[in-house]
Symmetry: C2
Amino acid sequence: MQIVQQQQCFGGRQIRYRHDSQSLNCSMQFSVFLPPQAEQGPVPALYWLSGLTCTDDNFSTKAGAQRMAAMLGLALIIPDTSPRGEGVADDPQGAYDLGLGAGFYVNATETPWNKHYRMYDYVLNELPALVERELPLNGKRAISGHSMGGHGALVLALRNPARFVSVSAFAPISHPTDCPWGQKAFTAYLGEDQSAWAEYDASLLLAAKGCSLPMLVDQGEADNFLAEQLRPEALQAAADVDGAELTLRLQPGYDHSYYFIASFIEEHLRFHARHLAG
Amino acid sequence: MQIVQQQQCFGGRQIRYRHDSQSLNCSMQFSVFLPPQAEQGPVPALYWLSGLTCTDDNFSTKAGAQRMAAMLGLALIIPDTSPRGEGVADDPQGAYDLGLGAGFYVNATETPWNKHYRMYDYVLNELPALVERELPLNGKRAISGHSMGGHGALVLALRNPARFVSVSAFAPISHPTDCPWGQKAFTAYLGEDQSAWAEYDASLLLAAKGCSLPMLVDQGEADNFLAEQLRPEALQAAADVDGAELTLRLQPGYDHSYYFIASFIEEHLRFHARHLAG
């Protein structure tokens, strides 16, 4: 992995890397924040998965997360949201919710998507192996994300609870098999047969398997996507079935933007830091 | 003034307005952050002037200033960096450092610029009169900015110390009559006769008039523009002449970006809040 850009930030380093991804079969960029404590020895990491249309840049520049990450000694690992580059399939109509910037953190099985769109494997396996080999990380991981990335964080944690100590999300797509964004993406990436979809639906996974990890979810009540796309009540209902440790907070007045994320990222970082220290 | 966009942020409101500017002879956007304390009564305001190529959006989304502004009860008033719109002159070559996005906070006297480019009047008089009439502000003002905006903040405060209680800057263009950015802009906006330039040069103003206001300046030592364009040593030398209350801090490792601003904005807000409370 090669450094593309490196900047000092809150006494730590904000770094953008490029590398050739085996999972995605293309060249990828991702960003990392290394807190000042990483100069002394390995630190735990929070993986952040961004939402539709984002790259690794949005969270890096808009969330204000580095301040508290520097204070708590947390690394931030921030992947892109889809494979990129020439030859990578995109939606023919250029829709914002399919193709580039919209990988949905699944392993696509349908053509033409299955050649590159394997973001599930990339985030779960390839990226952690890479950064834990190359950077001062202690192998302890937490995961969070926003919207499509909140869906990704929940799905990755629910299916792989041994890999993470805690999971959180901002305005996640909580029940993608039953909302327009999820149905469109899953039909394209996974095919018409809906039996394959359940493995990528946080509410179905939680209801079926429960969850041993602490979960924190914030949702703005003024979020335009709340009722149609996000469905946090489905996640809450699934948690109620088996008594999973879900804290779902509805935040009056907040919308779907990074102003919402910035307002509550400190609490999410403190939540993860408590569990990463255990 | 009309609300274009409004979002909840740290318990306060981030608002973008549009209005017809008399000074600039065009329609303008600016952004405001109103802290939660503004619901209870009038609050003091920090004016933020952005740098080359910016709009009101850069500081709003990237500096992370709202957190501490909400804690301290400060409003943030964030104008654009030049007049905008059809009929507003721009550099014929589309240079980033002249014309749109590069108003340099002067009142232009040369054609074609003098029809719209009166950012000095706009920021000093029109904008404060407007927002203090329409919003819950108590009339106490501090001012800060970045790069070209740091130049603007220093010049406005040095020439009008009764209007502000304190001034700060990040990587300001400290001596524009003696650097390429300043010479190019002043030649275009103010003409070849350099006698008019001194009124817009913080180092010359400080040496000539002194300064009764507390001044805080942060400068990254890894800033690519430091030696050629920014010249903080000229500001320090001017301050040394008359014992002005300048705190100039060189920050090792930091560059010219918003990561630098985000890292130190809390200290600037605390600095201004102390003086605004007095």
